[in-house]
Amino acid sequence: MTTGTVPTQERGPATAGTRGIAAYRGYRPPVGMLSWALHRITGLGVLLFLLLHIVDIFLVGYGPETFNELLFIYRHPVFRIGEIILVAGLYYHAANGVRIILIDFWEKAYRFERQLFYGVIAVFLAGFLPTAFFMIRAMVR
């Protein structure tokens, strides 16, 4: 799956002998690569949660005792932070998905690659910041 034809860029100031993560210092990935990587990571992350969520909702059929007893997991602070990260991933995936569809069906979209990516970030923040605010407020209250 390729998202963009931006030519391979130089690895910034890294020297030929640099190894490991240090070789990427100063490297600015092209927006197409960044948006693609985020799309895949968020997509697989949301899928992982979806599978867990199907299992937990299946337990509803075993009655209130079984289901309510296991809810302490989702109410644990670690899971509530995870819940906010999940929403962030979902919102990014939704916003960037629209960008992908635009590129697929709108002939000239590729000319605005950078602007479209910044638009994705803007839409993401416009949705995520208020959502996170309400979720954190409910959590600390």
Binding site: I57, G63, P64, N68, V98, D104
Partner: protein
């Protein structure tokens, strides 16, 4: 004369199953934006995990509308997500044996999770438990 369009995005497959999955990926994605964000706002912003319990789900699934909503979302999200995982497998797993193994896992997951999810959404009957708890409570 305009320059040829650069190859951007995932190339649209020529036909067959891959083309159908290409269209399904995009159409289900658009529907899921509406379904999943509605779901998040109702279940994580207006309500939170503090309020949601068995009774909450029983109330909600008293309405056929929410059962249909949840089942449609289950169906689209599961197939959309596993199709994405299938593309990731195609990108990274090269050895033939491992590919067959990974694709088998994904197709099995699609069938199994669709079945248990459908059982949960469609066959849930709270009245048995509610009758039992009323009897125990009185």
């Amino acid at each position: 004369m305009s320059a040829p369009r650069p190859r951007v995005g995932r190339e649209r497959p020529a036909g067959g199953f891959e083309l159908y999955s290409w269209y399904f990926f995009r159409i289900s994605g658009l529907l899921l934006i509406f379904l999943a964000i509605t779901h998040v706002v109702i279940m994580h912003v207006i309500n939170t995990v503090d309020e949601i319990d068995w009774n909450f789900v029983a109330d909600r699934w008293g309405s056929p509308f929410w059962r249909a909503f949840d089942w449609l979302m289950l169906f689209l999200a599961l197939l959309h997500g596993l199709n994405g995982a299938r593309l990731a497998v195609d990108d990274y797993i090269r050895a033939r044996g491992w590919r067959i193994f990974a694709h088998s896992i994904l197709w099995s997951a699609a069938v199994i999770f669709l079945i248990i999810g459908s059982i949960a959404v469609l066959t849930f009957d709270p009245s048995a438990f509610q009758a039992a708890s009323t009897a125990a409570g009185s």
